[in-house]
């Protein structure tokens, strides 16, 4: 079994990302910035209706417009458009302005059909049947463990409540898309904003009926994906079609902001009717949950529940509800933020009813045999100290009498992470001393490119800047698709293997010239050492390779990576009970992710996860208009996202004792975004004394909760 160096020089330190200056100086070309010679601009025409049939489509006028080089119809006569934003046709023209005009000039005669765009519309009596005959729903079978009804009846204390979270969209700043060029009659090059260069290439090849090896996808950098960019999509294939029609000229096709919101993915909603029971001494005894969620026109909306806590008799029934909206896609820790918010709200409400500190209640109910339990115990202790839990937290509703109420809340989360075992990395050591690692993975902004360079430099005794980390090219050895926090744990072991083997090969080839055995050689600070003594510079040693570079492809090895993490977050908020405005004073995030390769970019991932969760907790919501069936906020002003002034103090700590580090690399993209919205919801509830059951914690939802409680005489 392989092991990471025990006293690393670079691993675990704070190393600025190697592509950072290019990005920060505007010099790096993103896929949407690339304009190969002769580029035409593509524009999509998409459905203005939530549900309609194309009676006829006429592109004659569009084809005659100035600058137009190609028109492609996706939804011809008779095709049904299933949501606002569904693809109809596309145009490629010399300028983007001309392409927009031409797309607008395509004549479509629609038969508008009845729609449902909200959960209540979809489940109403006599609702139009948009997908299935069974009431626009797919009811899952109940998952039952034990006899929860019987145990619930024996519980000393129970709570029952319905909690809900809205649909949110990914809002990738670089919209989905690619630029496709037919290089000749049977080769395509595409510059794509994707999380998966390999699958994007193979799907494009398949759609264009080319051998996979004839399509090359390049993604040097990309402007955010969050789980929504794993293939060429209809618009990417359309770009290739348009390019073909335009004699191979490159066609640049990136969605506009509106279609990005409508058609390029979203996180499903979640509604959970939860009954949770405990004994007087604060032990969970049973859980009964009925949940629903909206995942779009065809996707499910599953999420984990029960979540984290010990395995008690439980039943869960989940129903997916279909609406005339774009389909859900994986979004940063798919399912977990929803499951976490619902579970942790119920846990808090039950702790309150029991009169137990919710922190103690959680610790009491961690699963006894889980390896993560001691991790949670230690993390909660760290977090409680950093937020000042015992000094600053009052029992629910006992936070003063003025209009501004302060409250504290917390939540726990988990995530798998871990890596694939079938990925490859090539390491090339050239006779001029230059070193390159290659793999068909990509860097979404996580720092994956830098991670490969750090590992390489660590093992070769070089500086990070001495290593060329080449990723984002589908023609390289197969690398990991960037999803599920799996990139670093998938790519680190084969990088370790490739570089170690390349180094050993170098030792074998230069040892005779140094009158030494390969086993006597080591590398440090750009020098080759024989039995610990510097004998030759790295460059001179590589020169001994003559004309023949070293090229090794490395594979997975056991011992370098692991799966499964835990973390906790705490929120300190102030709520104005007259306006409903929530202000976050401070967040604390404690996270374990095994061995950390780059502490600087690791911290950025955790900050980013917390801020993503803050958006989910306070601001984000896709608003559909039931009457017209359209989205009311497909933009970046009414679709609310945090700006600089919304950012509180955020304290991030890694939980990384030696035994955690020894687990190897795990991955951190997702876990730190899971419990933020849950912790914020609990803090708001603690502050104002009544449960806000609906996320986000917007003024409307906070005031509604207060009004409801007041009506019921509770507040």
């Amino acid at each position: 079994m392989a092991v990471w160096p025990s006293n690393p020089r670079l691993i675990g330190t704070r190393i600025p990302r190697i592509d950072g200056l290019g990005k920060a100086s505007g010099r790096t070309k993103y896929p949407s910035d690339v304009r190969p010679e002769g580029t035409l601009f593509g524009v999509m025409l998409y459905s203005p209706y939530a549900h309609a049939k194309v009676k006829s489509i006429d592109t004659t006028a569009a084809e005659k417009m100035p600058g137009v080089k190609a028109v492609h119809v996706i939804a011809g006569a008779g095709k049904t458009l299933r949501y606002q934003g569904d693809d109809i046709a596309a145009v490629a023209a010399e300028t983007e302005e001309q392409a927009r005009d031409a797309a607008r000039a395509i004549q479509v005669d629609y038969e508008v059909l009845p729609h449902v765009v909200t959960e209540s519309q979809a489940t109403a009596e006599n609702a139009p049947q948009i997908v299935r005959d069974a009431g626009n729903q797919r009811r899952g079978r109940a998952t039952v463990k034990g006899k929860p009804e019987e145990d619930m009846a024996k519980a000393d204390v129970t709570i029952e409540a319905t909690y809900s979270l809205p649909v949110i969209t990914h809002v990738c700043l670089e919209t989905h898309g690619l630029t496709a060029r037919w290089d000749d009659s049977d080769h395509i090059t595409a510059w794509a904003s994707t999380q998966a260069v390999g699958p994007t290439a193979s799907q494009l090849a398949d759609a264009m009926k080319l051998p996979a090896s004839n399509v090359r996808v390049l993604t040097e950098v990309m402007g955010g994906g969050f789980g929504s960019k794993f293939g060429p999509d209809v618009w990417g294939i359309t770009a290739a079609e348009l390019s073909k029609k335009a004699g191979g000229r490159p066609v640049r096709m990136f969605l506009d902001r509106i279609q990005e919101h409508l058609a390029a993915g979203n996180r499903p909603s979640a509604i959970g009717k939860v009954k949770l029971g405990a004994s007087k001494d604060g032990k969970l005894v049973a859980m009964i949950a009925e949940t629903t969620g909206v995942g779009g026109i065809s996707r499910g909306a599953q999420f984990p529940l029960p979540y984290i806590y010990m395995d008690v008799p439980a039943s869960r029934t989940h129903t997916d509800i279909f609406v005339n909206c774009g389909d859900a896609r994986a979004m940063r820790a798919p399912g977990h933020p929803q499951g976490c918010a619902i579970m942790e709200a119920a846990m808090d409400d039950l702790a309150d009813k029991l009169g137990i500190d919710p922190l103690e209640f959680r610790l009491k109910n961690l699963p006894p045999d889980d390896f993560k339990t001691p991790v949670y115990m230690a993390e909660v202790k760290m977090g409680a100290e950093l937020i000042g839990w015992s000094a600053n937290r009052q029992p629910r509703g006992q936070n003063g009498k003025g209009p501004i109420r302060r409250g504290l809340g917390m939540a726990l989360h988990t995530w798998g992470g871990g890596g694939a075992k079938d990925k490859q990395v090539a390491c090339i050591i050239n006779p001029d001393g230059s070193v390159e690692v290659r793999s068909a993975t990509q860097d979404l902004g996580t720092g994956a490119r830098t991670v490969l360079a750090i590992i390489t430099a660590e093992l070769l005794g070089l500086k990070v800047s001495d290593v060329k980390s080449n990723i984002g090219d589908s023609s390289f050895p197969p690398g990991q698709n960037s999803g599920g926090s799996t990139t670093t744990p998938s790519m680190s072991p084969p990088t370790f293997s490739a570089v170690s083997e390349a180094r050993d090969e170098l030792f074998k080839r230069i040892a005779p010239g140094l009158n030494a055995q390969p086993a006597d050689l080591t590398l440090k600070d750009g020098q080759v050492l024989v039995k610990g003594e510097a004998k030759m510079s790295w460059k001179d040693a590589c020169r001994k390779l003559g004309m023949m570079p070293i090229s090794v492809t490395g594979k997975f090895q056991e011992g370098l990576s692991s799966v499964g993490v835990g973390g906790c977050q705490f929120a300190d908020v102030s709520v104005d009970i007259e306006t409903g405005v929530v202000k976050i004073n401070k967040m604390v995030a404690i996270q374990d992710t095994g061995l950390i390769i780059d502490k600087l970019t690791w911290e950025s991932q955790v900050y980013g996860g917390v801020i993503g969760g803050l958006n989910y907790g306070l601001f984000e919501e896709r608003v559909m208009d039931p009457t017209t069936g359209v989205m009311l906020n497909p933009d970046m002003e009414l679709y609310k996202l945090a700006g600089a002034s919304d950012i509180p103090e955020i304290i991030v700590r890694a939980y990384e004792p030696d035994e955690v580090k020894a687990r190897g690399v795990i991955g951190v993209g997702e876990p730190p975004t899971v419990s933020t919205a849950a912790a914020i919801g609990n803090a708001v509830t603690n502050a104002i004394g009544v449960r806000v059951t609906e996320w986000p914690m917007s003024p409307r939802n906070v005031l509604n909760a207060l009004a409801k409680a007041s009506k019921e005489g509770k507040a």
Binding site: P16, L21, G223, G224, G608, A644
Partner: protein
């Protein structure tokens, strides 16, 4: 520059009256044309003069010249072409990014005559004679804003970063000693989706320090 007499020769009566997109273009186009001769400070005055004089409109293809990062660049645009699309699609200046395309997110921030503006809602024809600076012209050395963003990891995917770097530069040019609160206010016109704000704040404060040579 192609300029036309706006008075309708054949069109329907009243086409030239009331508020139209044409009137708007006329104002901004002429103001810019005058600015070439008289300098940026007199734009308001030029607007007033333009309103009095025989108005002109622009339509169709317009050949313009823009001073971008110290270089005079010519290209053909339409009167409706935004500065952002002109920079990106016609001049290959792709530092500023198109994200929201309606002045909400700041990714397209460009400095015009010293002020940060959203180039996605600024017409290219209105920028003639003005000094247009994008982040590609910034100092990439240790005293520059890009360096501070790099060192403090004030970026992840990096797509909002050009806008933040540009807004930060404009902020520091005006206020070389910002507090954290000043930084937040100065960057409030920009949105990041990866959640890089903490690194951005640290970068802005570090850049302020570096610029002073501390």
């Amino acid at each position: 520059m192609t300029e036309h007499d706006p008075k309708p020769k054949g069109g329907p009566a009243g086409a030239a009256s009331g508020h139209s997109r044409r009137d708007f273009l006329r104002g901004s186009g002429l103001a810019a044309a005058s600015a070439v001769l008289t300098g940026p400070a007199t734009v308001a005055l030029d607007e007033a003069k333009a309103a009095e004089s025989d108005p002109k409109v622009l339509s169709g293809d317009v050949r313009i010249s823009l001073k971008v990062n110290g270089e005079e660049r010519s290209c053909t645009v339409e009167p409706r072409s935004t500065l952002l699309d002109t920079l990106r699609n016609r001049l290959d200046v792709t530092g500023p990014k198109r994200v929201c395309d309606r002045a909400s997110c700041g990714a397209c921030t460009t400095i015009i005559d010293g002020d940060p503006v959203y180039s996605c809602t600024t017409l290219a024809v209105a920028c003639q004679g003005k000094k247009i600076e994008t982040l590609e012209s910034f100092d990439t050395g240790e005293k520059g804003v890009p360096h501070a963003f790099h060192q403090n990891d004030g970026l992840m995917c990096g797509y909002c970063t050009p806008g933040f770097v540009t807004a930060c530069k404009a902020l520091l040019d005006e206020n070389p000693n910002p507090s954290l609160e000043d930084v937040k206010r100065g960057l409030d016109g920009n949105i990041c989706r990866c959640g890089t704000y903490i690194g951005v704040f640290q970068a802005a404060l570090a850049a302020a320090k570096a610029m002073k040579g501390a």
